[in-house]
């Protein structure tokens, strides 16, 4: 008895799907707070720190909180790529390793992306409804970022 062409293709897809489950990307969970962490560099109020952790840290720190589907490939790979790109752009865990020039520019970028609503990404908000920034939080972040930036440029 020979299988139909469609059945063969479906079987092949199934095998591929099973095989790729064994290829798990490395997790971004250091569990440590580095010396260069932004909380060790600046006075970050508790309320703002909480917002950062909740809305930004999954992609912009060394500690991602993984959802269940991160165990399912290729979703896990997609997440890993997002996290890598996010960390390349801005990593709160290693903020202190940037030159003061870059720190000031990063702070400005934070202000603008929060103000324009380009961050958190809409695709992220779709799956993390609690990460949506309220106007109050937005204002709080923007004012903190500005104060911090001013102190940075004055110390220069």
């Amino acid at each position: 008895m020979s299988m139909s062409r469609t059945k063969k293709i479906l079987l092949a897809i199934l095998i591929v799907l099973i095989v790729i489950q064994f290829i798990q990307p490395t997790r971004n969970t250091s569990g440590q707070v580095l010396q260069t962490d932004i909380v060790n560099m600046y006075n970050v109020p508790q309320s703002i720190q909480a917002v950062f952790e909740n809305a930004c840290y999954d992609c912009h720190s060394n500690n991602t909180r993984y959802p269940w589907y991160a165990n399912v490939q290729p979703m896990g790979w997609l997440l890993a790529r997002h996290v890598k790109e996010g960390k390349d752009e801005l990593n709160f865990s290693e903020f202190g390793s940037y030159s003061s020039r870059r720190q000031a520019n990063k702070l400005r970028a934070i202000e603008n992306s929060v103000k324009d609503g380009t961050m958190p990404l809409s695709s992220y908000l779709l799956l993390h409804k609690d990460a949506r920034l309220t106007e109050t939080y937005k204002a709080e972040i923007i004012s903190w970022v500005r104060r911090t930036r001013d102190s940075l440029t004055q110390n220069k």
Binding site: S99, R101, R102, N105, R108
Partner: protein, 185 residues
């Protein structure tokens, strides 16, 4: 005080913009700057040229040309011969390079988002200014200031011509701004 002066400067520039237009066209470099012009060579010649092409592209509201110029700028950044630099220059370069490259990468990747390009151009302009001060340019440059950009926080840029052509506001307000400093070669 500063704001009111700046505002007047912009207003007068704007009123005159119509009659200035023909003069603008004569003095404005519309062609791409040569990557190897005659004149004193400095290690950052190519970098400055890339920057100036980027500036002109933004002044023309040409986002794609800006992205191309940012790539040209990046190439020049990567080509710089660090062994030829003095200790002081190395220090400035180390401080500026990562930031400047990052800005240029953003600009090159944002060919359809000119506002985003301009935001990074603002930060890049500060980097280039510091480099020009440390390295020299081989040509006279002008540091211009636009008081209106970024919610009236203002922004600077470098230009190879004395005439104001605003890369932040583009054709909307081409003559807004003033020369703050002349940097002799």
């Amino acid at each position: 005080m500063t704001a009111s002066i700046a505002f007047t400067a912009c207003n007068s520039g704007n009123n005159k913009s119509a009659e200035n237009n023909s003069a603008d066209n004569n003095q404005t470099p519309t062609t791409t700057l040569s990557s190897n012009p005659t004149g004193e060579a400095t290690p950052i010649k190519g970098i400055v040229n890339g920057y100036l092409n980027l500036k002109n592209a933004l002044a023309n509201d040409n986002s794609q040309a800006a992205a191309n110029a940012a790539n040209e700028f990046l190439e020049a950044m990567n080509k710089i011969d660090k062994s030829s630099l003095t200790e002081g220059q190395k220090k400035v370069y180390a401080d500026v390079a990562d930031d400047a490259k990052e800005m240029a990468e953003h600009i090159s990747k944002s060919a359809d988002k000119i506002d985003h390009q301009r935001e990074h151009f603002d930060m890049l302009s500060n980097d280039i200014y510091d480099m020009v001060k440390a390295f020299g340019t081989g040509q006279t440059l002008y540091r211009d200031f636009c008081p209106m950009y970024n919610d009236n926080k203002g922004a600077t840029w470098l230009s190879e011509v004395k005439l104001i052509r605003n890369p932040y506001l583009g054709k909307e307000m081409p003559t807004c701004g003033e020369v703050k400093e002349e940097i002799k070669q």
